[in-house]
Subunit: 682 residues, 2 copies
């Protein structure tokens, strides 16, 4: 695969935090006019053509749960398939399929039981529940809007039909035209810009300070309390084994690390990968597919020597220019994009290491290959306070949608954190042994405990004492050695107890160590993909309408991921065409091209339009010339251009268009233009 | 695809219920000697080569949860991929991806909340929990064994190593040598043969009657109580919306029926399909992958007109001969297989209808294509008392393993049950409208309610009265009409209340109806595949050992599903071979052949043996002749035969062997035999 061209900066004037109800799509490879994007129109199409729908619709629906219909499921399967080829196959990763139901102990160790939570507060009178940050945000935004109205400014109203607004889970707070002090406007604006950074206590203070109340009832709300976002259940009939639905697939990799390492003949680096469902019990899901309770993830855990994070194939991505938003720019309050090659970004230290840089490049290639607009893609580095304490660097691939910039892929260097905590908890070694080229020889203080005397001396505490001695570092050992020379030493352990040590119990000596093997806990670089978010962003980037038919949408999905690649359209329902339709359908299938027949009685224009809505890139039209001359016309969705050729040649052209080995321009060189009318009659 | 050859009957002397620790594999397409199967050896290989492992191993493991490693995940992905091609693509089914987390109301309607349960009982003193049928079975089996010992018979001991027995979740009950009365032996044997048919009350009676106690403690156990097998959780923060992890994917199809029908332009028949995880919280999981708490299913719901269950493509399967075990044979206490073509089975009424028969044939083709031994496969019909009350016919595809015959695919005609109950509960129409070719004209009694008078007369009961009238059948209407002629009629409704009707409130008249459209609830034919069970059975059927190396296993997985298709083996670690290894690896990848390099320092024989354990069908060996003459040898796993040819030709042969367009015999005609030694030195 060749490197993609450099992306230019994001569209000027795009505010990353503001909701953007209208976005202009300008995909360079598609011959289409700039158009104004309507989310309501896209959503209506999604329902009509059954891409996806709220789950349990006939039961009234459940927030944050979505079912994918035939078109959506096929699009998702194609994205996943491309992902598997691009990452797992291409890089020989070790694929895993681990359980969704996860032992509580594992998630206790990983920190999820204690920390994977959002803040919520309750209406003190009617018990309604709000996510605290959403509540503060909604109320302050409404007050700012009311202030604008009071000041007489024209307020932009989102062009969302009433029905659509009703369905939206984001409860709009009613606006009252009340003018605010200038200083208050500034305070509110500052708070809104940092809304993701407040903890529960701070949110509670804001609620108190600004008298924020439940929007509908006007009642006071409680102080924010933590709500863990994991779905909880019990495993087995006793109720004593607690389990959670996994909030990410990553832990399944870590607990199997030693097996994976063995499978890889004990060598690092290697990567494991997993595609599967994860779950987060959101307090109040909103923004459609972007914040849901059940979602498909694809995660890679790349295990690497902490002393050598170079990457064998770094040269393949070195010259790709990426749109980067580094942390220092953000910390100075700006959002300007820097375009830099990956090579430069790593060399300058902006990106921490080669392996991390390699994956940023591979992520960029994957996203643009499946159809994400490179001009609406950026890599944003986490700021210091945003990153987990153990991470050494983290970049999110963010995609611009009508909801603003959305985190779709996270790419973090998690250091040795996960393997270390699981190893400590289970007392199992999760380490790599690597032979030194030359044995390392050095001197080192070593403590030796005399088993025969330590037991009787310290009785039940003996084991604890021994462990405390063995955990001492060189400085502590030097100190112990010098004390023992005086006949006794004092040992203070973590419980606070103090023990007296004597030379008959323990000795400390300088020894020469000959180390042939280095043992280390590998670091983990984790690219983690939210497939549903990528799926939705791709739909927004692909959706437009023709100037001559603004009410009907077109989904310009690339052939690589389009749910159906070719539509077969018999010009009429005349039975003489039926055998040919079957034959073409069979031939496309054996060429590996997913096709569908539309032999309905609708006009051919209507059938093409339906095709455009389904995102099908090609249509094969069979008419009476097909019977007499063996030809077939080929319509391309984005340009609506039609070409003609012998049936088998057209099929071969479609096959190559779909596997990416031929462009439409190339196809036009092989097949002449079709200008005539379809032969409707015999 | 051509029809598979007729399968012969199951191996003589196989008792379907007895555990079969040793099974003889005789796959006709593989040149191997009969060997005795060792489950312990297979399981050891599964762990060693990381096919699968108990989940959370380093935390001590959790029963009934398994993680698939790189080899297992790839084998599973290949099986699923074949399934998708064979069913979804080939038959143009509508694929769905619906949520795992399921609204409790949906599963209440489907009957799962009330009925999806097993019986469990508790040790009254220590609280240990047992699945009631397993407990009765274990204790009675142990007593029968003790009786045999007491009678001096040699008791067969399963050849399972101690460690293996310890891991097994089926707690072996200790045997005491106590002789039983002959009549008691017969009673126990009869009970064991019917163990699956007892309900909780009956199991409770058996426990009482035979003084069955907790095996380890000897304590009494409680009466059996129901334990629902669904994992329960709460959706959202209030705790008021209850959800379950789905126990099957089927309900996700039914609740989306109207959307699917619309997508299919309102026409039946059509089928939806879904592949995904389901969950059952087993009381005491056992038998490895065969009874687990989390598993992958693939389900088809084929919606069909109840008045026309013919199938368009029935001719394609009509002549396939299936090994059938019909219900009447079982009801007479026998297990003899009848081999019959699907055409005959449907014509004779043994299989209820063409569509059901069509799927039995397609299931047979699928299972044998991926490598299930046709001689160890049978279709068993459900007996009357075994089938759900609404089902009209049901056949299980059962595969013979060392655990006996295992249900791997269910294929049921569920009639209109599911759509009817969801429609009734949600008051949404889940029906198909089909135009009559000719309008149907007939006479019919019709009741007309006078809105103006019925309201004031019956006040709050008016609606109920009106509904009761509108639900009357022709007989009831005739009766009402004749009563009204006498000036008044009595209406008794389901609540037990009685109302007096008069002609000013309701009239009944004979009318001529002209019906252009028939409205009906479609019936559902449901083939439902347990992918994990098929996966495990396939491993048993593929596993054997060479007579000359009995300690090492060979997995004869067909190339179609093998995790890795080709191993690349450089004859030595000489650097001159390295570029060629990379080149061959790249060429195989672009031919779509999953390959792996083994450049370890192990001897070539050891590397081949490792390859056999991984189920890799082909090995390409590169030596110094490859550099000088451009040749490569090709080793076939099952025969260990080696052929030779130019590198590109060998790669093309492998490609065709893997996609099924070439057999090994065919390959041997294209590539000459290789008899020499590999060129180890330059």
């Amino acid at each position: 695969m060749s490197a993609a061209p450099a992306a230019s900066a994001v569209p000027a004037g795009v505010d990353p935090d503001a909701p953007a109800p209208s976005a202009v799509s300008n995909r360079p490879d598609v011959n289409r006019e700039a158009h104004s994007f309507s989310r309501a129109q896209l959503e209506a199409l999604m329902t009509k053509r059954f891409f996806y729908i709220q789950a349990f619709e006939i039961y009234g629906g459940v927030g944050g749960l979505y079912d994918y219909g035939p078109t959506g499921a096929a699009l998702q399967a194609n994205i996943i398939n491309q992902w598997r080829n691009h990452f797992i196959i291409e890089e020989e990763m070790l694929e895993l399929d681990t359980t969704i139901m996860t032992l509580a102990d594992v998630l206790k160790t990983s920190g999820h039981v204690d920390k994977f939570a959002d803040w919520m507060c309750k209406d003190v009178k009617n018990g309604d529940i709000f996510r605290a940050d959403h509540l503060v945000e909604g109320v302050l935004e409404a007050r700012l809007e009311g202030d604008k109205v009071a000041r007489g400014a024209a307020v932009a109203v989102e062009a969302v039909p009433a029905e659509d607004a009703k369905k939206s889970k984001k409860k709009k707070v009613k606006t009252a035209a009340v003018k605010l002090e200038d200083a208050v406007v500034e305070e509110y604006t500052t708070i809104l810009a940092q809304i993701d950074n407040f903890d529960g206590k701070q949110l509670g203070e804001l609620i108190k300070k600004y008298d924020i109340r439940a929007p509908e009832s006007g009642n006071e709300v409680s102080q924010p309390i933590e709500f863990n976002l994991m779905f909880e259940s019990s495993i087995g009939p006793t109720g004593q084994v607690k389990g959670y639905l996994r909030p990410e697939t990553a832990q399944g990799h870590f607990v199997n690390f030693q097996r994976l390492l063995e499978f890889n003949n004990g060598r690092v680096p290697f990567a494991s990968a997993q595609i599967g469902k994860s779950f987060r019990n959101e307090i109040s899901p909103r923004a459609g597919l972007l914040r849901v309770r059940e979602f498909t993830m694809a995660e890679i855990e790349h295990f690497v020597d902490p002393e050598d994070k170079s990457h064998e194939r770094f040269d393949e991505v070195r010259d790709i220019a990426l749109p980067l938003l580094p942390k220092d720019v953000q910390e100075s309050g700006k959002t300007d994009i820097t375009t830099k090659t990956i090579g430069d970004a790593v060399a300058s230290g902006m990106v921490d290491n080669q392996t991390l840089g390699y994956f940023l490049g591979r992520i960029y290639l994957f996203l643009t290959k499946i159809g994400i607009d490179p001009k609406r893609l950026r890599f944003r580095q986490h700021m210091g306070n945003e990153m987990a304490h153990y991470a050494s660097d983290c970049w999110d691939a963010e995609i611009h949608t009508s909801y603003g910039w959305i985190e779709c892929v996270g790419c973090a260097d998690r250091s040795a954190y996960d393997l270390t905590v699981h190893s400590r908890k289970t007392k199992k070694d999760l380490v790599v042994q690597k032979a030194h080229r030359e044995p390392k020889v050095y001197d080192r203080l070593v403590a030796e405990v005399v088993k025969k005397t330590i037991g009787p001396r310290f009785k039940k505490d003996a084991k604890m004492v021994e462990e405390a001695i063995l955990e001492m570092d060189q400085k502590a050992l030097a100190d112990l050695q010098s004390q023992l020379k005086n006949g006794k030493a004092e040992l203070k352990i973590c419980t606070g107890q103090t023990f007296e040590l004597t030379p008959d119990v323990v000795s400390v000596e300088m020894k020469t160590i000959r180390e042939t093997v280095r043992e280390f806990t590998p670091n983990v670089i984790e690219p983690s993909f939210g497939i549903g978010r990528i799926f939705y962003s791709l739909l927004e980037h692909s959706f437009w309408a023709r100037a001559e038919d603004v009410d009907r949408g077109v989904l310009s999905l690339p052939p690589l991921v389009a749910p159906i690649k070719a539509l077969i359209v018999p010009i009429s329902s005349n039975e003489k065409l039926a055998p040919l339709v079957k034959q073409v359908s069979r031939k496309l299938r054996s060429a590996g091209v997913a096709s569908r027949v539309d032999d309905s009685s609708a006009t051919i224009g209507r059938r093409y339009a339906r095709n455009d809505e389904l995102g099908t890139p090609f249509a094969c039209t069979l008419d009476f010339a097909s019977l007499s001359k063996g030809t077939m016309t080929l319509r391309e969705r984005d340009t609506t251009a039609q070409r003609i050729g012998p049936i088998d040649q057209v099929i071969e052209v479609i096959r190559r268009l779909c596997d990416g080995s031929l462009t439409w321009e190339g196809a036009c060189k092989e097949l002449p233009e079709y200008s005539g009318q379809q032969d409707v009659d015999e």
